[in-house]
Symmetry: C2
Subunit: 322 residues, 2 copies
């Protein structure tokens, strides 16, 4: 069996795994993401060492290593903009990863680095919800919105490697400011941040005792607060969830118009509240889409869950997807 190391780097934790060529996770380890970006690759090296130690003799079966990183990664493996790991920006991520992996394993191998959402798309393409289609968009809904694109059965990385920044698609011309410098970006509405923003507005509007309580207790409303309040039947929170679902559906409709994907695959942290947040999305989506010629697009939840990134990074390292 061929194995590869897959590493998924988030703003708070690093998940490292040994994955086989059927997508099974053989061993996995978690370490914290360092706040100081200078040591990010050392932390990755630590995680890799833990995985390799647990692999024991099977370490000989490791044929490559891949990492998904939350930022813009060019085709030479340089990490550019990385909002959640600012100190790691402009680092030679591919070379840094290679150095750690080869130090641990003591031999040369294939090493790849990729944007985290693109790595998740690689995972779904190799082993998950995108296996059966030639065109798909993986939409990762977390603090922001990331995207991984599959076209003609291959990943679409774009000319420089920066494709998939679907969260910065403008859906409201004069909408709220985004951290990117733009206005009205999709992720200002349909991400965890967007949900929290809508929840805060509802709390300030006074219609929701539960959200007002959350705001008073912590000085902020989190996406989780909105989900909890909606589960408890809070009317204003349910309105927020309805607005959120409409925004999410409109962005998905845009992606469907542009790509005609066989599947729109939803991943990321918000999937944990799929029952509340996604329930009405297919209906809102269908309302907005045109009739006749346009067949239905499947909107599904990512099959690999939080392991999509490590599985995809490993699949890329094994050359199972390109």
């Amino acid at each position: 069996v061929a194995l590869a190391l897959g590493i998924d780097v988030g703003g708070t934790k690093i998940l490292a795994a040994a994955v086989d060529d059927a997508g099974e996770v053989v061993v996995e380890e978690r370490v914290e993401s360092p706040k100081d970006g200078g040591s990010l690759f050392d932390a990755i090296g630590d995680a890799v060492a833990l995985v390799v130690a647990r692999l024991g003799g099977r370490a000989a079966e490791v044929h490559g290593a891949g990492a998904g990183l939350p930022g813009l990664i060019d085709l030479e493996g340089v990490l550019h903009d990385a909002p959640n790991l600012p100190a790691a920006a402009n680092s030679a991520a591919g070379a840094e990863l290679r150095r750690r992996v080869e130090a641990v394993l003591g031999r040369r191998m294939r090493v790849v680095v990729e944007n985290d959402a693109t790595a998740a798309a690689a995972g779904e393409l190799a082993f998950g919800a995108a296996r059966s289609v030639a065109n798909a968009v993986v939409v990762t809904l977390g603090t922001g919105i990331g995207g991984g694109l599959v076209g003609n059965g291959r990943l679409l990385r774009g000319e420089r490697g920066f494709a998939g920044e679907i969260g910065h698609m403008v859906v409201e011309l004069d909408g709220p400011r985004c951290a990117c410098g733009g206005q009205g970006c999709w992720e200002q509405f349909a991400s965890g941040t967007g949900l929290a923003r809508l929840g805060r507005e509802a709390a300030l509007g006074g219609a929701s005792p539960l959200l007002a309580e959350a705001l008073a207790a912590r000085g902020e409303v989190r996406g989780e607060d909105v989900v909890d309040a909606a589960r408890r039947g809070d009317g204003a929170a349910l309105d927020v969830v309805a607005a959120f679902a409409r925004y999410l559906a409109i962005g998905l409709s845009n992606l469907a118009e542009i790509f005609d994907p066989g599947r729109l695959i939803l991943g990321g942290g918000l999937v944990r509240a799929a029952d509340v947040l996604f329930a009405t999305v297919p209906e809102r989506f269908a309302e907005h889409r045109r009739g006749a010629g346009e067949a239905k697009v499947d909107i599904v939840v990512a099959e690999l869950g939080e392991r999509a990134g490590v599985a995809g990074a490993a699949a890329l390292a094994l050359g199972l997807v390109t």
Copy 2:
């Protein structure tokens, strides 16, 4: 030299040509698009017969035929939604074209049908502005907005063949109604229709004597009226053009975020007023785009002009692009 017939079907005219494998148009003919969709393919047959007659002995060099049609075309060559040719909707376009072409040429050959903007993208990819890049979006700006996508050096048709409907990307959540049934679609702002709508608002606002005159004379303001008035220094018309350029730039920015294209290629009828309409677009685009990591995207005018469609349809028939 291998030749192919390329046919570009618009709402008002059909352009048919014999194109060689270097993209040179050897012979071309124009006929009017029938208002009655039932005879659309007969009109195409007439145009093909005119081209073949003028080719004379070189008709033996014709290896295939392709057509670009303004509508949604599935991967089996069936034309679905076709707003400008309603009577041709739901026709088996591929089979109909094959029948006419083979009747004229008296032998079987490769016949392909494609969405018109995708055909234009095929032309630019084979012979024009997309030759030097692996990822590009061809944006056809006319009455509406069409799109042809190139990813990893290949056309992206999507799962059913309906990709590229970029004009129906929502850029303003509660914006004006679109003929598609949605609200705030990009083509309500950045197409000929959008320009006319903005011009009409300016005329009704009373700030533009020239646009008010156009409205009084014909009961409507056309995009051309706005362009003419702007050329003559009309302040309100210049404001309309500035708003139009901003809308165009924001949609292009969305496409750049999503695809990371090497080039954004502008085609379609509005290109004739590029000096007025596109002058400030790169600047508006750059303002909206994020800094550092994201290199500049080239925004260029289509190289093949109104022949992109016939050249692309021929290139597809010759198998020069896929």
